[in-house]
Symmetry: C2
Subunit: 195 residues, 2 copies
């Protein structure tokens, strides 16, 4: 592994981001390394220079980038989940993000496309799920502490259910194009928690 300069790091970044865009827009198995090179204005020699293990290694980097993006999108809402109004803002943000991104949703791509085939990407998604669920769990506990949520709920299991609801809504959206299921699932979770 040669030491890398600023220029090299920039190229590497262009490659990863180009790959992420390409995968989001056209799907994982439809994306070839040549596509990535064309998109990022590089050649295969660069790609294999920065990712000596080839496709797998690049995919791992993409998975990390997408995981970070998903988490980053949620963060501003996740930290303030204590009131019903805050939960509803968060729900609206989730639905709206999913609607506007449509099939190009990083979460959907990450979990449904990448998660299964390469074990390395699977580790990244598992980590994302854990981290995300932990944030939701914290929000639920805070809402309970604020007296706005049913104190009898198991915060961790409920958080798991919320994550599954989102994931399921997104999956259905990927098949049908409609966010109705995502909305319904989130509404049910919120209604159950905040009563």
């Amino acid at each position: 592994m040669p030491t890398t300069t600023a220029k090299g790091a920039a190229t590497r970044r262009r490659i990863v981001e180009g790959a992420a865009s390409e995968i989001r827009e056209r799907g994982l198995n439809a994306t070839t390394l040549d596509d990535v090179c064309r998109r990022s204005g590089t050649g295969k020699s660069q790609l294999f220079h920065y990712f000596p293990d080839g496709r797998e290694q690049l995919l791992h980097a993409v998975a990390e980038l997408e995981a970070e993006r998903v988490f980053h999108d949620q963060e501003p809402y996740l930290s303030e989940l204590t009131s019903r109004a805050a939960w509803e803002r968060w729900r609206d943000a989730v639905v709206e993000t999913s609607r506007s991104q449509g099939l190009h949703c990083p979460l959907g791509v990450l979990i449904t496309d990448m998660g299964r085939h390469s074990p390395t990407a699977q580790a990244v998604t598992a980590q994302l799920i854990r981290q995300w669920q932990e944030c939701v769990r914290t929000g639920i506990a805070a809402t309970q502490a604020a007296g706005e949520a049913d104190p009898a709920l198991d915060a961790d299991r409920t958080a798991a259910a919320v994550i599954a609801a989102i994931q399921g809504g997104v999956s259905v959206q990927l098949s049908t194009g409609s966010v109705a299921h995502l909305e319904a699932a989130l509404n049910l979770c919120l209604d159950h928690m905040l009563s």
Copy 2:
């Protein structure tokens, strides 16, 4: 399209079932037509004889088969959903099926793998979702009529949430190997409905 004899129909069936097994066990993109031929004890000439449009057409047939299988597995439970005990039996059946099939779950394969890439398979999954959701909706309405479920619930939206919960639980399972999210999501739905 030549007229097909009994022997031909049997061969065709073997091909579709072989393809379905192969896809369930090894994933969609890892399954080649040669794999399917080897598995079903046929050759490419048969495959293209019965599926002149090749891979796409075969995938469509596989999607139909899997959709039917998913629906058929649920059917005995879906028709008797009126009491809490019945809902719990159904939940246990869903979880157990998903657990035992693990990564070989037809539903997961169908929606997460096949649904997106070929529009024809997408139509099949959309149909499956509609049909399934309708059954759940009927069960919810029946439970409400029996006085065991909250009558204020919108049966259709609730059914949509339940479908999303299952789908999400299965998706998470495909990434993490654990059915905990599926269980949590279904439990939340049941708790919300039956109170």
